[in-house]
């Protein structure tokens, strides 16, 4: 079994998908590496890839005039990075920078999106799974906005 096939088959995110779907997704994957300090993508880039981080940590950052880069979240091994490939306008919402040497599997989102258009069952299945990630990020962002550790927390 190819390394990527095994990775996809074993990852909790893809658990329960039929073998054909797993094979299709794995077939759209390729292994990539990013040196420390390099960017996986920048805010506003076309979103045609998502990543499964296998090693190292990635910071999601947003730059603001006068404040410079602010880290809004960090992701690590086992985490999925990128959901914007699945929903219009298919553009990256933040910068992603390697905090360490990062090894990941990059998936061709444009290719999978095309398959999803052709097969709504697969599209709905993936949308449900990525919606959970979006929901988790939304909850985390709400908690950050609440500033729960302030004196009113």
């Amino acid at each position: 079994m190819r390394e990527i096939d095994a990775l996809v088959a074993d990852h909790p995110f893809f658990r329960g998908l039929p073998p054909d779907d797993l094979a299709l997704i794995a077939g759209c994957g390729s292994n990539v590496r990013f040196d420390v300090g390099s960017y996986l993508f920048h805010e506003g880039d076309a979103s045609d890839r998502f990543y499964l981080i296998r090693h190292g940590r990635v910071a999601l950052e947003i730059s603001s005039p006068g404040r410079g880069r602010m880290t809004i979240s960090t992701l690590g091994p086992g985490d999925m990075l990128g959901w914007s490939w699945l929903v219009p306008p298919y553009s990256k919402q933040s910068d992603a920078r390697a905090l360490e040497l990062v090894r990941a599997t990059a998936f061709d989102g444009a290719c999978i999106r095309k398959k999803c258009e052709e097969d709504p069952r697969l599209g709905y299945e993936l949308l449900k799974r990525f919606a959970q990630i979006i929901g988790q990020r939304l909850r985390a962002t709400r908690m950050q906005l609440l500033d729960v550790y302030g004196t009113w927390g």
């Binding site: 910071a59 880069r69 905090l99 909850r139 985390a140 908690m143 500033d147 729960v148 927390g153």
Partner: protein, 272 residues
């Protein structure tokens, strides 16, 4: 119950608004026995009294340790105390963390902000008898890197091979912090434990605890294995005055540590 006089032995500034006081009986050496999770009423002459969790080591009861965040007139005055000054102590009060019930299983400690001090005695207790517990994880979140408490001690715990320690901050600039960024609940997915055989102890702001409990239940931890420490306006500390009443319970007397399946109905009532 009259306060006993204690003398400040040592102070340590933990962050811009948090100070740790080590105090000892003014009358001379003595022991102050307490259970992890209990609190004292600290009384400062001319200012008033505040309920503060005990954050020291239960196995060294000769010194009483409190970590205090300056949020009001009494706590601000407590944070200004210097070596040799005197304060009054009533206690210990309240229920403790279920360290005995957790024996034999995994233990996950989720602390947010100044929720770590009431849980530190648990860590001392567990690390002193490490072989009685299976996997132990500390998940700790703070607002910024400068707000992280007990930084040297947390680094020491992280250096051990028998404790998983994960710390995160809500916000940081890349130049000031190389660790995790994100709310403490994001660490729950990283912790290694068997949900059915785990005891979880959660302490922090109430919103943080609600979010954490939702994620813990999402991982399969039964409500009856989750414990949380509640904070209310405690005045008498012995269940008389009603200031800390939460429905039919008094947080000072019946808590502050509650099992989640018992506290959940109360948490759902707004402004209770």
């Amino acid at each position: 119950m009259a306060p006993q006089a204690f003398c400040v032995r040592r102070t340590r500034r933990e962050s811009h608004d948090v100070v740790t006081l080590e105090i000892e009986p003014a009358a001379g050496p003595g022991e102050f026995v307490f259970a992890p999770g209990q609190f004292n009423m600290l009384y400062l002459f001319g200012h008033g009294e505040a309920a503060i969790s005990i954050s020291g080591d239960p196995t060294t009861p000769q010194v009483l340790v409190h970590t205090i965040r300056a949020v009001g007139s009494v706590t601000e005055a407590l944070c200004r105390l210097r070596k040799g000054q005197v304060l009054g102590v009533r206690g210990p009060f309240g229920s403790g963390w279920p360290v005995a019930e957790a024996v034999g299983g995994d233990l996950v400690i989720v602390a947010g902000g100044v929720g770590l001090p009431p849980l530190r005695p648990v860590l001392y207790h567990v690390l002193a008898q490490r072989d009685r517990y299976r996997r132990v994880a500390l998940l700790y979140g703070a607002r910024t890197p400068a707000d992280l408490l007990y930084q040297r001690e947390v680094a020491r715990w992280r250096g051990r091979f028998d404790v998983q320690v994960e710390a995160t901050v809500d916000a940081a600039s890349p130049d000031s912090w190389r660790g995790h960024v994100g709310v403490v609940t994001t660490l729950i997915a990283r912790a290694e434990f068997d949900p059915a055989e785990t005891t979880v102890m959660v302490c922090g702001p109430e919103v943080m605890m609600r979010f954490a409990i939702a994620d813990l239940q999402g991982r399969g931890v039964p409500p009856g294995r989750i414990y949380l420490s509640m904070e209310r306006n405690m005045k008498c500390a012995i269940g008389f005055c009603g200031h800390c009443q939460l429905g039919p319970t008094f947080v000072c007397r019946d808590g502050p540590v509650f099992r989640y399946d018992r506290a959940a109905p109360l948490l759902r009532v707004r402004e209770l």
